[in-house]
Amino acid sequence: MGEVRQATADQAAFRDELIQHGLFIASGVPGLYGRGATFEDIRNRVDARITAAAQAEAPESMRFPPLLPRKQIESIGYLHSFPHLAGSVFAFEGGEDEALLQSERADRHEDWSEFQRMTELALVPAACYPVYPAVAARGPLPVGGVVVDAGGAWVFRHEPSEDPARLQMFHQREIVRLGAPEEVRTWRDDWSERGLALLQSLGLDAERDRATDPFFGRGGRMLAANQRSQELKLELLVAIAGDEPTAVASFNYHQDHFAAIYGLAQHDGDVAHTACLGFGQERIVLALLRTHGVDPPSWPAEVRRELWGA
């Protein structure tokens, strides 16, 4: 079992406030919460704002379940980069005797993992992952490339924490761009500006910065250094609770990483490049609740207008 990251006093107080007001519903496991009606209403309004911001591009809509074929998580190298965050689905395999032993251990809340075997499934860690093989399967991209809206999908990261802004399962609103290198990078850069303006229109004190993914180990430091020096990842940061601002959106240029794995080609046969953006919906809602208070009817009129249109 992974070690639970402790909360600062500020984060713990905010988490307690969220639970007390029915915004978060505690489960007993750090980083796993239900959401009350008010929380979900805000999240859906934020989602609609992102949809509106993307409308001009007329993205193609795709939706995927929060499970991925295990082979995909293997092929993209996730276990090289993020072995500590991955979650894979195991399920019972055995006969009557094993089932009995398993249930007895489960009744005592003891370890019953020896009766579990790996399945063909892994939890989706990033909402864009199913998009690349789906688009690659159609053949070369059309002229001008493709924009795919993967929706606000559930994603999993195994990083138990008492910080209410670090969830193990949350909604990531992802949009993916596939095309020529220049147009993909420009799209990524433009969207980081558009995303910043969107958050600022909601009264959030957001800033943009170069960032790195939380790669694992010493090899990960090398991947992070490469990512930073090539400006492959941009993030939008907002203070929620704790000492550091929290990343609430990221804009990622993958170069040919996914194209090389799935054979994604442009219309003329040249290798395609890809980029994605992800808005962490719960974190944006938390930033709004932290900035404007836990009672949305009392939020500033201009923020309410942006979200609810009245």
């Binding site: 010493r218 990960g220 090398m222 991947l223 020096s229 990483h257």
Partner: protein
């Protein structure tokens, strides 16, 4: 710095860099990333070089530039091991 160091680097490259071309077709100054080495393969290369030369790259050296050619790798190993010999020869400070 000597020929042995470069020979060992090329052996490690052949086994771990997953290059789409034969490493012997590349000059010492050829860009390994341009030759098709991926970021993930460069991590495997870095770890394999540490084993082969019994060294540990400090954080400041965990960058793309240190691993982008045989010459660059050789220079880094020379700096870390003093004489650039493979570990069997006892590279010290």
């Amino acid at each position: 710095m000597n020929d042995d160091t470069r020979t060992v680097i090329r052996r490690v490259l052949r086994e771990h860099a997953r290059l789409p071309v034969d490493v012997d077709t590349l000059g010492d100054d050829a860009d390994l990333f341009a030759a098709g080495m991926t970021s993930h393969a460069s991590v495997n290369l870095m770890l394999a070089l540490e084993d082969a030369f019994d060294i540990e790259f400090p954080d400041r050296m965990l960058t793309r530039g240190v691993f982008d050619s045989v010459s660059a790798i050789a220079a880094a190993i020379t700096e870390l091991s003093g004489d650039g010999e493979p570990s069997a020869a006892g590279g010290g400070t």
